[in-house]
């Protein structure tokens, strides 16, 4: 996950991650993001950083994101009451994607959760978006705080090491991580630092996310950057990488006005929570969402991938029209994808324009740029599944 919300706060009121001094030392251009001063790019620049992540390994500081623990034997059932996702059947040692919903079925945030054996004294480890974390934690506390302990972890930093050589670099420091497969994880000592790491990320590449105490984050980051495969990567490339991977940016592509079905995130809602499943419904907005699943024709709009047929970047909030000039939707994220080397976008269109191959027009500076509805990811994902 990553989020687009930027703070309007003055620079001196921005929060700093534990790696702030390192970013400055590395020459990063710092920008306000989700209330934090964050590196948007390093001297290599967005394009080089993007390519480096796809070809070798990139290190991202995502410490602005929210980390929390849900503790107690009822934690999974409690979390299931907030998200349309199978939490109870997720085995210990595995991670899953989830969507926090409001009572209208709108998406409050997207998140990742990991079963660190909550049933036997461990926890559910949850990671949410930085810009949403205060609200998320209050929401979770209010809704399920009586059923499990909700413990925010502001003392923890979060690093992401992403790319085809991430495993090579990390296993040099922490032998054994190579045995993990996508969406699993465990505790490892990395460069003397006590870490909880998962084999996952938000770039479409193989890689890891590493939760580490703030006091050890700088040591860990420097040890990772000392590996020949690894370079620091800013938020700019994180955005272009995630878009090529077809992954949503909270605040752009999904928000409280979009349901998971409209957002084409049906894959995140397992059968057990759908009509006919053993634990069907029982999440906020279930009536609306199950009805949308049963009859997709009722959808007002649907998220699709789009590729421009001319070399003109098509950006957020660009109007989409049918070829006969009627407004049919809007782009929510768009840029020239550095790897695919074509303008790519995602956006919402009326359902009758959502079929793959449908021709639409994006209205860029008054001119129609032809686009085609295309399958996502735009760049093949390379998750390690063993």
């Amino acid at each position: 996950m990553s989020d687009s919300s930027t703070s309007s706060a003055a620079p001196d009121t921005l929060l700093k991650t534990p790696l702030h001094a390192l970013h400055v030392e590395l020459g990063a251009r710092m920008v306000p993001f989700a209330g934090y001063s964050m590196p948007v790019q390093y001297p290599a620049g967005l394009m080089a950083e993007h390519h480096h992540t796809r070809q070798a390994a990139g290190l991202f500081d995502v410490s602005h994101m929210g980390q929390l623990r849900l503790v107690g034997a009822d934690a999974a059932a409690a979390l299931e009451s907030l998200i349309p996702v199978d939490v109870i059947d997720l085995p210990a040692g595995k991670q899953r994607y989830g969507l926090l919903l409001n009572d209208e079925g709108g998406i409050i945030d997207d998140l990742m959760f990991f079963n660190r054996d909550y049933a036997h004294g461990g926890d559910l480890f949850v990671i949410v978006n930085g810009a949403c974390k205060v609200g998320d934690i209050a929401h979770i506390q209010a809704k399920i705080g009586a059923r499990c302990e909700v413990i925010p972890m502001p003392e923890m930093a979060l690093l992401a090491l992403q790319g085809p050589q991430a495993v090579t670099a990390l296993q040099r420091l922490a032998p054994g991580v190579e045995k993990l497969v996508f969406m699993t994880g465990g505790r490892f000592t990395v460069a003397g630092c006590d870490c909880f790491l998962t084999r996952s990320g938000y770039t479409g590449e193989d890689g890891f996310e590493i939760s580490v105490h703030a006091s050890q984050a700088d040591v860990l980051a420097r040890a990772l950057l000392a590996q020949p495969e690894v370079k620091p990567i800013g938020l700019g490339a994180r955005n272009s990488l995630r878009l090529e991977a077809g992954l949503c940016l909270y605040g752009n592509d999904i928000d409280t006005t979009t349901t998971p079905v409209e957002a084409s995130l049906n894959w995140a809602m397992q059968k057990v929570r759908r009509t006919g499943g053993a634990r069907a419904g029982g999440f906020p907005g279930a009536d609306k969402i199950l009805a949308q699943l049963a009859d997709p024709a009722t959808l007002a709009r649907k998220r699709v991938g789009l590729v421009a047929l001319e070399r003109v970047p098509v950006r957020d909030h660009t109007e989409l029209q049918s070829t006969d000039g009627a407004k049919i939707g809007e782009v929510t994220s768009g840029l020239l994808g550095p790897t695919i080397n074509q303008p790519v976008a995602m956006g919402y269109v009326k359902p009758e324009f959502a079929a793959l191959g449908t021709r639409v027009n994006a209205i860029v500076r008054g001119k129609a740029v032809p686009m085609e509805v295309a399958a996502m990811p735009f760049v093949a994902t390379r998750y390690y599944r063993g």
Binding site: Q41, L46, H50, G236, N239, R311, P313
Partner: protein, 121 residues
């Protein structure tokens, strides 16, 4: 040959009544890797400050303003094919377009290199 600069971080190289226009080193650095340019059609006439084109990086898009009034007499076709010229040689091979000045007195209000360097600092 005189070189002038605008507050929009564009440069003009003036030869007679024709100015070659591009974006400054500072501008291309702020934008990052340029991936797209939209240039005006040759023969089009613009007033000063009108939007004449667009320059885009992966991260951002910026309008290119007409620094002085005039008619577009040439555009850099090589830049359309390889927008990264705006990064690698912004004051040279990365030029955007040439204009025939309709009011050369507008040049007087533009900055010279010393003033622009201070402005962009």
């Amino acid at each position: 040959m005189t070189v002038k600069y605008t507050e929009d971080h564009e440069w003009l190289k003036i030869e007679g009544d024709v100015a070659t226009v591009g974006i400054t080193v500072h501008a291309q650095d702020a934008l990052g890797d340029v991936v797209f340019v939209d240039l005006p059609a040759v023969g089009t006439t613009f007033a000063q400050k009108e939007t004449a084109g667009v320059v885009e990086s992966v991260k951002a898009a910026a309008d290119v303003y007409m620094p002085v009034s005039g008619e577009v007499t040439a555009i850099n076709e090589a830049l359309k094919d390889d927008p990264s010229l705006a990064n690698s040689d912004p004051m040279g091979a990365g030029w955007f377009f040439k204009i025939k000045l309709s009011d050369p007195s507008q040049l007087d209000a533009l900055m010279d290199e010393t003033r622009y360097t201070a402005f962009a600092a």
